[in-house]
Symmetry: C2
Subunit: 586 residues, 2 copies
């Protein structure tokens, strides 16, 4: 398995040169935050990812998780790495200072999150969902609940989970049937079965805090009758010590295609003690606080795996000697040339890199918008919220589809060796495949983008996003690049507006194509902006290759947007002409 | 795991209505062959695939293969199913009658092969390579070798293997270093290590016949110094009984992403007794007899898995209730509508079906060309050979890329359940992934198509293929369909001819796009031809859905060809502008 090296040169370029992060922190009055601190976080995060968890990735996949006597065990070294992680404060990066969080900007934390995903996706999952639980509790829980639980989840002393899915209720949470019965002491008795619960149990911490969606008696049907509850694995005494085990148990752990080192649990709640988070019947909104964060973070998983796959493929392509290059002998002292000199291999490597680095640019722009949402107020904050709302499904679905494509190129460049477990490339494909499914399948993301985000806001969120990308375009100094970017923005706006008059059936049929169109187009604008910045940076060796990668994006990737545009305009009819009897015949 | 049902309705349509197989057999003077026999083979093959091996697919994946004391054991039931297979004569379908083969047309055998792949890819692999070995021995071995070995491999009493790859020599066989030392008795002592040897050992048969590429002393360097040898696992006495074990052993079995029930072996030859097949130093040509057959058969693996994934996804989409359809409530008596009514799900199902059935049409056309090559002589045979040569890399690469795409849609339609092993969809993705890699990666197929097949024949093989597709187009009665087909053929010819003047570096950079362009275009012509046939068939329920699938192909899949055309014309520059230092920087 190739050794992961965090892409520090690219992150430094993005933060310092492209996003001008120092000016960004000043502009949003992020006190005490500067480029030096950002680069220090980057460097330390890289060390942790490279040295503490990347070496556990392959062994974790081999060992998997075990359920013995109702208790989950994760692979060797996982718990120890977690303890190092929380001791070094990584879990608290984004937490509120009132509960011992470090309150760092997202632009500092998100690069570290990407690295964790590259190094060991299974390991990262538990802390990712813990951070999402922190967000939901910070925003919706009572002070009493916060005082008991929040600081311990922020520090990582306890982890958090997210319990939505039931066997018959996944995409459609309105069907969920877990029950919450009010008790005399103000608590609730929670009963039901949840599936696909990441780290529903683990051997890392003394306690686990489950966030569980359930229905109160006589709650309205559908999603307006769902409430959110906090259900601890162990009861917490008034003095903060742990009491009895709560009536929650692990039914089984799933056997999955990948992320085998992450325990995916079936959870049984049998009159377990739970506490209401937020208002009654408003649980879905509370859960969405968590879910929006998780959706972007899942996007980062696709991005992280893509980087790992690109690195692995590049290492192999430089070392593997096979045949001569068609443009002439490249290594006359050897019996064959490294396959990196084969144009078809370079085409695959460039595809991997252009997609990965373009997506990273979008993720870092998203991070700065999260900073703006966090540190500013008023119109600036509102705009950032709207842009984040529009871009969240884009990042989730596009980065994870891209992650699967890039990881598959990783296998392909290795040839037959890519299929063999010891080389590590097939694990990346298996691991990242889940990211297209959980936190809402990518089809659901597309429906969210074209429905809730585009048409239901009557284009307002798209317009807000357009304003941000127009600002980026306005700062491009190269007039040719600027003109190309403006053409992309105009086309995107016009295509988006053309959808406002379409009905739900039409939009549903073209949703995925719209999402892909938007993704390729906006990343195209970001590549044009980066191409404008690159000639001015000091690391000319890095700039030379990155410019060629950007040019490859424009000539060999961006045209994909036109195909998706074609299907947005012409793809619905043949889909919607069909019905059940066209598929089922004798 | 969904129950596999062989697509007999589609095969019957293709054979009887579309290809008019009865007239085809008369035209090529295939004595004793008729539509009735073809449908009988279909039906019996379907029974075997559905009942004997499909039920072993999931348990085979779970159990995998074991190497104990140098002997390979395959999963429970695999050997028994094989014995049923050979007892019922399936292994002998294509063998020469002189050696107890049934000598059936390819158009009868290939549907059965597709079904075997759908039902259980791991199980099928061993018999597939045995058939390839039969071909190579039939064409190149001495009568003495044939008399000893051929009938037993045709019947399936013994299996065959194909030993090409070595750790440092995969794509580039010129680097292989296994040695063959001539012995006084006319045999050769074979020494070396081979990797990725499918069914290098198994517990199905008493003996195994390995075909091994090796170098004679003082052989010319490169591919012109490679010879082919037959190396039995056990020596064969003059009376046909088995003698001592030969000096060939299994070093290990590989741990793979998928096809876990197929033992992929590292083979060690240590002065093993081998017999020359064909001429000295002409081994690669002999092996290509085997490899061309294997390449098309690997294409059928992608096709077979695609069919299985489509069936699984359709079953789930009809049963799974989640949310309401955007076009209105479809199942008012239920709490939610089946997801097949979601346009995005139908878009995925139609993509699966249009790709699978389009590819099946091409595979069956290919089968009739194999029939022509087998039963005719002179110009007709030569033309068929040229068309087969051009279409082999197309079928291998396109069907297997398509198989991965379609299998991934299978997972996606299942949502989170698609990632869980018990549902069976993720196994299809893992199993079919190998097909893009072995028998030459799909990049190598593309290089073969644009290099050896298109430009090195100065377009002759493409012209021969064009003639066949022009004949198909000439028989289209609907003038609009015919016109569309002619436009596709003209564009394909013109794009192909534009490549004849390009250098090797340019062609290498656009090879994969050319292969994809050709595939989507030619399958587009076949869909137009099928759309022309469908209104006249008696099964109108089947015809209605298939017409809509064909229309979906034209509107929602065929436009992909334009994107690949764009990259064939404009994609090389950005690839070939890069070199090693663009990827490796400090």
């Amino acid at each position: 398995m190739p050794h992961y090296q965090a892409p520090l040169t690219d992150f430094t370029f993005l933060l310092d040169d492209w996003l001008r992060i120092e000016e960004h922190y000043q502009r949003i009055n992020a006190e005490g935050m500067d480029s030096e601190l950002a680069l220090e976080v980057l460097n330390q995060g890289a060390k942790f990812a490279e040295q503490a968890i990347a070496p556990l990735n392959q062994s974790g996949d081999e060992q998997g998780c075990k359920l013995i006597d109702g208790n989950v065990t994760t692979p060797d070294g996982f718990a120890e790495a977690y303890h190092t992680y929380i001791e070094n404060g990584w879990n608290a990066m984004l937490g509120e200072p009132d509960y011992d969080g470090q309150d760092l900007p997202y632009s500092m934390a998100i690069p570290v999150h990407e690295m964790l995903n590259s190094a060991n996706l299974s390991w990262r999952l538990t802390t990712m969902l813990t951070e999402s639980a922190v967000l939901a509790l910070t925003k919706h829980a009572s002070d009493e609940l916060k005082d008991t639980y929040l600081a311990k989840i922020i520090s990582g002393e306890w982890t958090g989970t997210m319990n939505l899915t039931e066997p018959h209720a996944g995409t459609d949470l309105s069907l969920l049937s877990t029950k919450a019965q009010p008790q005399a002491d103000g608590s609730y008795a929670i009963s039901g079965n949840k599936i696909f619960i990441t780290a529903g149990d683990q051997n890392w911490t003394d306690n686990i805090v489950h966030l569980v969606l359930a229905r109160l008696p006589n709650a309205p049907e559908g999603v307006k009758g769902i409430s959110l509850f906090l259900v601890p694995k162990f009861m917490v005494n008034a003095d903060g010590t742990l009491g009895d085990k709560n009536r929650v148990s692990v039914g089984s752990i799933e056997h999955k295609m990948g992320i085998k080192a992450s325990p995916t649990c079936v959870m049984n709640y049998d009159d377990a003690v739970g506490y209401l988070v937020g208002e009654e019947n408003a649980g879905l909104a509370c859960m969405f606080t968590m879910m929006n964060d998780a959706r972007f973070q899942v996007g980062l998983q696709g991005l992280g795996v893509a980087e790992a796959a690109y690195q692995g493929a590049l290492t192999y392509a430089v070392e593997r000697l096979q045949s001569r290059a068609p443009q002439g002998v490249q290594a006359p002292d050897k019996k064959a040339d490294p396959i990196v000199f084969q144009p078809d291999v370079r085409r695959m490597l460039l595809t991997q890199r252009a997609l990965t680095e373009g997506s990273r640019a979008l993720s870092m722009l998203y991070a700065t918008l999260m900073d703006i949402e966090k540190y500013t107020q008023g119109a600036q904050q509102t705009q950032a919220e709207e842009v984040i709302a529009y871009l969240t499904p884009v990042c989730k679905a596009f980065f994870t589809d891209m992650g699967t494509e890039v990881a598959n190129y990783g296998i392909q460049i290795y040839g037959g060796h890519g299929y063999i477990r010891e080389w590590g490339m097939e694990q990346l494909v298996r691991d990242t495949r889940i990211a297209q499914l959980y936190e809402g399948t990518n089809g659901i993301q597309a429906a969210d983008l074209i429905g809730r985000k585009l048409t239901r806001s009557n284009g307002a969120m798209m317009q807000a996003t357009h304003a941000v990308f127009s600002d980026i375009t306005a700062r491009i100094t190269n007039t040719s690049y600027q003109q190309q970017a403006n053409e992309l923005l105009n086309e995107w706006k016009s295509l988006s507006q053309s959808l406002l008059g379409k009905d739900g059936e039409y939009c549903a049929a073209v949703a995925c194509d719209y999402l892909n169109y938007v993704s390729y187009t906006l990343i195209g604008v970001l590549w044009l902006s980066m191409l404008d910045t690159l000639p001015n940076i000091s690391n000319t060796a890095f700039a030379k290759g990155k410019v060629k990668t950007g040019e490859f994006y424009l000539s060999n990737i961006l045209p994909r947007a036109q195909q998706h545009k074609h299907f947005v305009e012409h793809g619905a009819a043949a889909v919607n002409a069909t019905t059940l009897s066209d598929f089922i015949y004798v």
